[in-house]
Amino acid sequence: MNNIPLTIKETQDGLKSKKFNAVELVDSYLAQIKKYNNEYNIFLTVTEEEAYKKAREIDRKGSYATPLAGVVTAFKDIFLTKSVRTTAGSKILENYVPQYSATTVKKIEEAGGIMIGKLNCDAFAHGASGENSDYGPTLNPWNKEYVTGGSSSGSAGAVSANMSLVALGSDTGGSTRQPAGFCDLVGLKPTYGSISRYGVIAMSSSLDTVGTLTHTVDDMEIMYDVLKGEDGLDGTVKNSKAQIIKKSKFKIGIAKEYFIDGLDAEVEKTILEVKKTYEKIGVEVVEISLPHTKYMVPVYYIVMTAEVSSNLGRFDGIRYGFDRSKFGEEAKRRIMLGSYVLSAGYYDAYYEKAMRVRTKIINDFNDAFKTVDAIISPISPTPPFKIGENTNDPLKMYLEDVYTTTANLVGIPSLAIPSSFSKFGLPIGFQLMGPRFSEHQLFELAKKYHKEIDFKPRVAI
């Protein structure tokens, strides 16, 4: 086949009209992986055999009727895949082969998706650049001197390098949206409690969500509809009872607190252009205030590290092959911070206080959503940075999360939307946040924007 289609619809149209079959699709993706993976370090495990098996099965049926029939999918390596090694990007789990699959992996398989492999990521999803992977950083397919962002580094790399049509990542403080923004992709951090986390190695249980990366908003909508819903295994998941209301008039807010010192001029320019575009198509854009924005990063780094220290306790060297000495620097840093903020004598001053501020942050957003349908925000304060640029300064790296941690602390959905390119030819996107379970409204707003700028899905290599 000549060109790999870049959307689910094109893929399925091609399969149904017998322009190509699923096996040929797998051939093409594998060819791309074989050509570039050594260089870009995107896949940790390629499941060639399983992919062909599934493709043959789909071709044999021939109807391509299920929602993801023939859709080649890759998973961040923190999604458990039965009988397929799952490392979480850490050497501790270098040889770990799970005995069960995550709910989301099963849902994709049942919907006809074809798993092609497991993706590199920051170890245990700790990071905003992909550089904390114990298996080395993933290089940005748009320019290999730059990071892909993280922690779902391989997920963004695989889709933008055309090694997989879609990919799953995770988003605890921006780990899906930031790499999506750095690689010109659509990335969704869904409402907390809309998609089951069962079988995804936990980082921070009250913040973790299953993220998805696609080329287009239409594809994101299909993926979300497949993935969402109760599975009886994640007690925090609820089926949304919210009706999808087709609105004719939208009102979007921009928080004045988001225009801070560290905001890159090009990113700011992008946000203002997005505002203009929305106004042009009749969407009202108003200034709003989110007064607790400055507490976002400190609150996030207290809550998140506390939960990380708890969740990583099980890797105590007794059951998973390797002992604690295999933890990387970032994991150790977070375990120590988290144990500290939870310990007797410090709990009230740190964890307890952070939880109270978290409630105030949630109230900020509840108030804001009384007047606006969605909020526009930068994803990252800067365009993609160079590999090694921030590694010696963990605090600077943590500030990467200033705009993204919000949606996780509040539990609301946020959609990263590709927009423009920097003067160095690197992608810049923006995010739209909405009230809980407003995913479909965010999709509609994003589609309106892409229609206006005549967005076309594109691959880097």
């Binding site: 923190i78 069960y100 069962y198 306790g313 099980r314 007797a344 709990y347």
Partner: protein, 431 residues
């Protein structure tokens, strides 16, 4: 110097739920082949998440309501962190603030709270190796914590035996100490008794762990009290620590001192949504709660007029207590005989059906009654001795017949058949 013993208890009860606390594995782990009763959730595998067992929550609340606890309107699970090979997640899911049940009492002993948590696995040490069996890991476990209200071993025994009985009556657990479905920990200290001074709580406590039988309990607490008395009398304050009991030496021994006590780093379990418990709903359910042992005893005394020792024996075994009631309902006139046949002759063991049992009792009764002839003779004697009673009976005061029956039985030394006496008496009085 005189000392007063102060004891508070922590009682663990494994409820008889169908499944474990947070997964679908069987709650019944007893005697199963190691590591066959497990799944990703109770093994704490990466990615696994808990879902709370409603049956276990309901049983905990049932116990609380029976003991007069206040049920929390909003309740949470917490993560309690410590490292041990039998704790696969590195934390135990338990409760801290807002446990399901707060306060309450049993036999006048005050309860602090009742909460729900998960059990750990089991370590098996053999041939220089330590093995872990996770069959029990994640099993539901109810923990009842009392106030420090016990002042003697006898009090502790009284309370724990009654609690065991309550658990059985409510069908919460068989609370079997030998099988480990009921486990005890006692916090023990001694207070100085100073005449005319206000009672002051001691400034230390010693935790006595892993008590797995009533016999053990008595011996272990007594040994610990003796040890503390000795310490105090020699001018030392016992150190705050956890101790175990060695049956061979008949002494308690130190297991862990306060210096290496844990900082559990508790925080609310984010994977389990908080529970809103509608109090009214549970109160309605409470009205349907089966009888408690104390109510049973009262009924046996008032309704069936059983002697105290009979009541204790019957009430301490719910199965037999219910058997007695069924039988006594079939023939209310025989209640004492029924109890007697059960307790002294174990007749209920021979006749699983109360109907058959009654039939047998009646047969035995007939055999042991005085003959019709001697009954008739006795009646004649009584009637000839009490002409005024006959007159008042005939004038309409029919209740005097009770007096006559009593007199006849006296003549027969209580061996008269009540039915027969009644029949003959009625006939004679009609004449």
């Amino acid at each position: 110097m005189q000392y007063q013993t102060v004891i508070g208890l922590e009682v663990h009860i494994e409820p008889n739920t169908k499944s474990k606390m947070f997964c679908g594995c069987s709650q019944d782990h007893f005697g199963k082949k190691p590591n066959t009763n497990t799944c990703p959730i109770c093994l704490g595998l990466p990615g696994a998440l808990p879902v709370a067992n409603k049956e276990a929550i309901n049983k905990t609340i049932k116990l609380g309501l029976a003991l007069g606890s206040k049920i929390s309107e909003y309740s949470n699970f917490y993560r309690k962190h410590y490292f041990y090979p039998d704790l696969p997640k590195g934390f135990q899911t338990s409760q801290k603030d807002s446990p399901f049940c707060i306060g309450g009492e049993l036999m006048g002993f005050k309860i602090n709270h009742i909460h729900l948590e998960e059990d750990a696995g089991k370590l098996i040490h053999s041939q220089g190796k330590s093995l872990v069996d996770f069959n029990r890991s994640g099993c539901a476990l109810i923990e009842l914590v009392t106030e420090p209200v016990f002042h003697s071993v006898a009090d502790v025994l009284k309370f724990t035996k009654e609690l065991q009985l309550v658990a059985k009556y409510l069908d919460i657990s068989n609370a079997d100490m030998e099988k480990g479905t009921m486990r005890l920990e006692a916090n023990i200290s001694l207070a100085r008794e100073i005449p005319n001074a206000k009672f002051q709580m001691p400034n230390y406590k010693v935790e006595l762990k892993n008590i797995n039988s009533f016999r053990f309990l008595e011996k272990a607490i007594e040994a610990e009290i003796r040890r503390q008395e000795l310490e105090l009398s020699e001018g030392r304050t016992p150190i705050q620590e956890t101790r175990g009991y060695d049956e061979n030496t008949k002494k308690t021994f130190s297991q862990r001192t306060k210096e290496d006590s844990h900082d559990y780093r508790y925080f609310i379990e984010p994977d389990l949504p908080g529970l809103v418990l509608e109090n009214s709903k549970f109160e309605i359910r409470n009205s349907k709660i089966t009888e408690l042992p104390e109510q049973k005893r009262k009924k046996f005394a008032e309704q069936y007029k059983l002697p105290k020792d009979y009541i204790e024996i019957l009430a301490s075994d719910l199965g037999r207590a219910n058997y007695f009631e069924t039988a006594a309902k079939l023939s209310p006139d025989l209640s004492k005989t029924i109890a007697n046949a059960m307790i002294n002759k174990n007749l209920d063991k021979e006749y699983p059906e109360p109907e058959e049992f009654i039939k047998k009792i009646r047969e035995l009764e007939d055999k042991s009654y005085e003959s019709e002839q001697s009954t008739q003779n006795a009646i004649k004697t009584v009637l000839s001795e009490n002409p005024e009673i006959i007159t008042s009976y005939r004038s309409g005061k029919t209740q005097v017949i009770g007096f006559l029956i009593g007199q006849v039985q006296k003549q027969l030394q209580g061996q008269g058949n009540p039915k027969l006496i009644m029949e003959i008496l009625a006939k004679e009085l009609q004449k």
